[in-house]
């Protein structure tokens, strides 16, 4: 195949066409020859069969009467058919009645054994065996044998004709090719030449060979178009090149300019960077100042809160002191009204009349009265003493109360920034304690609905501060309520896994809708002598602890509910307060759990 590819187009075309023609002719010829041979053989067989029938029929009588000479005569008529080399007739017992052979000078051939009805080709000869029937009854068998020499002759003749035909056709084809191939190869060769010229001379020239409008023509046209296009684009390229060089020079110039600009900008940027840095520093300073201010505010709020608590404490202490005052006043009244003087006078009187004491006691009017007087006085003194003892008890209680309050306040005056384990119930109790006296004074009933809560990690001081503030506000609100059913309710519950709520509910004066948000503002107060820090700092503190402080109120006269929500953090370390470590430490002191 490679060699085929390397041949010139001319030779290629010629070779291909010759090959194809030869193949076609050979194919046709062989197929025809084969077909003809087959047909001939078939015809030959049918012919022989018919002849066997004819001859056999003519031998019927001979067979019937076993007349072999008559049968022989009949068989001899086959001489007319030159291809039949041998024939014979068998009786029904497969005995040869008569036979015939074409070549008389040869020895008598032996008749083959009788076979079944039919014909077949064997060894270049055709054999036929046919039954002889008379009115449907088999009388015997006839056998004919034909040579096929004539068929072979025909075949040979065919082949020679084919061969010569083939040669002639190929010769003619070759001659035709020689003339006609130019139609194809002409343009191709022309194009090839042009292409070669272009590549050798490096100059684009068109192909000018004569061509038609077939594919080759199209090819040449396109080739020429291409050449044109190339030439055009070459020209364009040259132009563009020139332009580019100009553009490059421009660019170089521009680049210098741009560099200058860039340097300028960089300088400017650096400057602004520096000033920015300064600004940032200033801002940071301002921020830290802010933070400090905020801290101070928080502190002041804290202190305000503290002050709230302190003032509350003082208020309470003041109250207690009032009652102490009252008590001591009354005690001094009692002491002042004490009949001890009278007893002293009676004793002096008795002393005076020492010598006639019995006369005095039995005869003197005053003297007679003295036993009665003594018993009276002793009774009075006894009751005085009882009363005084009672009052002293009360006093002691109040003093203890003051002590406790102050201790409580002191404990909360410590630095309040750390979370510690605590029991919420205790914290609420502490906050209440600070306010209890005030609540009682205002006639408010206290209701506690505290769910059991395990100890939590919480900033005790802050929580207490908030609660104190809330309770205080509630107490203030209740004071405006007319009637005897003033109720403050404190609830402790867990709305969910992560938090817990302390609600301070009162049915006091309530909060106007427009104030619901204002009350948490720094400096806003509805109290006559309020400072407005309490709820603000409380809300802040709640936020700091990760919770919230909120309020609900249905309006003026409908009371209010303050809700402090805090995250539920289970207590770590030793649990707080009175429930723990009594035995371990010996004393239960809150300050000891605060480490």
């Amino acid at each position: 195949m490679a060699r085929l590819q390397d041949m010139t187009i001319q030779r290629k075309l010629t070779a291909i066409i010759m090959l194809i023609s030869a193949t076609a002719l050979l194919l046709t010829g062989s197929v025809y020859t084969v077909y003809e041979q087959a047909t001939l053989r078939k015809a030959e067989a049918e012919n022989l069969w018919a002849q066997a029938g004819i001859v056999g029929d003519n031998c019927r009588a001979a067979l019937a009467f076993s007349e072999s000479s008559d049968a022989e005569d009949t068989l001899n008529s086959l001489r007319a058919q030159s291809t039949i080399a041998f024939a014979c007739v068998y009786t029904t017992d497969n005995v040869v009645l008569a036979q015939y052979q074409r070549d008389e000078d040869e020895d008598a051939l032996e008749a083959p054994p009788c076979e079944a009805d039919g014909w077949r080709f064997e060894g270049g000869q055709l054999l036929a065996f046919r039954q002889i029937k008379h009115n449907g009854e088999v009388m015997g068998m006839v056998h004919l044998r034909s040579t096929l020499g004539h068929l072979r002759k025909i075949l040979a003749r065919n082949i020679s004709i084919l061969a010569s035909l083939l040669l002639v056709s190929l010769a003619v084809a070759y001659l035709l090719m020689a003339r006609l191939q130019r139609v194809i190869t002409g343009p191709i060769l022309g194009l090839t030449e042009t292409a070669k010229a272009i590549s050798q001379n490096n100059a684009y020239t068109k192909c000018l060979v004569d061509h038609g409008s077939d594919e080759l023509g199209t090819l040449i046209e396109s080739f020429n178009l291409m050449v044109d296009t190339i030439q055009e684009s070459q020209a364009k390229l040259i132009e563009e090149n020139a332009e580019r060089r100009r553009a490059e020079e421009n660019l170089a110039k521009h680049l210098d300019q741009v560099e200058e600009e860039v340097e300028k900008r960089t300088r400017e940027l650096r400057q602004s960077n520096v000033s920015l840095a300064k600004e940032v520093a200033e801002r940071q300073q301002a921020e830290s100042q802010l933070r400090m201010t905020q801290k101070r505010l928080v502190e002041s709020a804290h202190r305000a809160g503290m002050a709230d608590v302190a003032s509350e404490v003082l208020h309470n202490v003041g109250n207690i002191l009032n009652s102490i005052n009252v008590t001591t006043t009354r005690m001094s009244e009692i002491v002042a009204a004490s009949k001890a003087d009278a007893l002293v006078r009676v004793a002096a009187m008795l002393d005076e009349r020492r010598e006639d004491l019995d006369v005095f006691l039995s005869q003197d009017a005053k003297g007679k009265h003295i036993p009665v007087f003594l018993s009276e006085v002793s009774g009075l003194l006894k009751s005085d003493r009882e009363r005084l003892a009672e009052m002293l008890k009360g006093l002691a209680k109040n003093v203890q109360h003051i002590k406790d309050t102050i201790t409580t306040q002191q404990s909360y005056a410590k630095v309040s920034g750390m979370e510690e384990p605590a029991s919420m119930e205790e914290i609420i109790e502490d906050a209440l304690q600070i306010n209890r006296a005030g609540l009682e004074r205002h006639g408010a009933q206290l209701a506690l609905e505290l769910d059991a809560l395990p100890p939590v990690q919480v900033n005790k001081q802050k929580v207490v501060q908030i609660l104190v503030n809330l309770i205080n506000n509630g107490k203030y609100a209740l004071s405006y309520r007319k009637g005897a059913d003033k109720v403050m309710c404190i609830r402790l519950y867990r709305p969910g896994e992560d938090s817990f709520r302390i609600e301070v509910v009162d049915n006091g004066i309530g909060i106007a809708q427009e104030n619901l948000t204002k009350i948490f503002r720094h400096g806003f107060t509805t109290k006559k002598n309020g400072h407005g820090f309490g709820l603000h700092s409380g809300a802040l503190a709640a936020k700091e602890m990760g919770g919230s402080l909120s309020v609900r109120s249905d309006g003026p006269g409908c009371g209010a509910t303050f809700t402090l929500e805090l995250p539920f953090k289970p207590a770590v370390g030793r649990s707080a307060g009175k429930t723990a470590t009594m035995g371990e430490q010996g004393t239960c002191n809150r300050s000891e759990t605060h480490e």
Partner: protein
């Protein structure tokens, strides 16, 4: 029909009947038989059987499903009966026919003028006149006339008398002669192949 006519037919039938009876029960031919006796007659019967396929009767006269062979002569009849009776023969049109052999009386024939009276002679398709009935053979052939009956004989002059096939003994073989004219008169076709084998074929035209 008139009275006279009726009487005429009655007489005809009566005579036919008596003739038939006579024929059947009548005195046989002379005891003159072929020299070979029954065996020879068997051979001849076989020949008749072989010849039959080569003879073609005209349409309508082939006796339908039965081929009746009438035999004159006791011995001949015996042989024929033994060999042929009941055998089947196939005709050209593939029809099968049975052979029936009947004995015919030469004596009865001698006294009859018309073949109608000579039943069952008229009903045969094949007739064999043995040598014993030689004397009557002419009469028989005359009676048969041109009817399509294949006549076999075994005496000299049979063919000349109008017989169709005559058996001739030659050495040890039986051969036959054919009177083609008689066959043509009887409208019987005989295969040429058979004629080839005949010893002598009589043909005037």
């Amino acid at each position: 029909m008139s009275l006279t006519e009726t009487i005429k037919t009655m007489v005809k039938k009566a005579s036919l009947l008596s003739a038939a009876l006579l024929l059947l029960a009548g005195r046989p031919c002379r005891a003159d038989t072929a020299p070979g006796g029954v065996p020879e007659y068997r051979l001849k019967a076989a020949y008749i059987y072989k010849i039959l396929p080569f003879v073609h009767w005209p349409e309508g006269s082939d006796g339908k499903g039965t081929l009746t062979v009438g035999v004159f002569g006791k011995d001949a009849h015996k042989a024929a009966r033994q060999l042929l009776d009941g055998k089947t023969i196939k005709s050209k049109d593939k029809k099968t026919r049975h052979i029936k052999v009947v004995e015919l009386s030469g004596q009865a024939v001698a006294e009859i003028e018309r073949i109608e009276a000579a039943e069952p002679l008229g009903k045969c398709q094949v007739v064999f006149v043995s040598a014993s009935c030689r004397a009557q053979s002419k009469k028989i052939l005359k009676l048969i006339g041109d009817r399509s009956i294949l006549t076999f004989g075994e005496t000299d002059g049979f063919l000349e008398s109008g017989g169709i096939i005559n058996f001739v003994a030659e050495k040890k073989k039986i051969r036959f002669e054919v009177n083609l004219d008689a066959a043509r008169r009887a409208r019987l076709k005989i295969d040429s192949q058979l004629l080839r084998l005949a010893k002598r074929v009589v043909k005037k035209r």
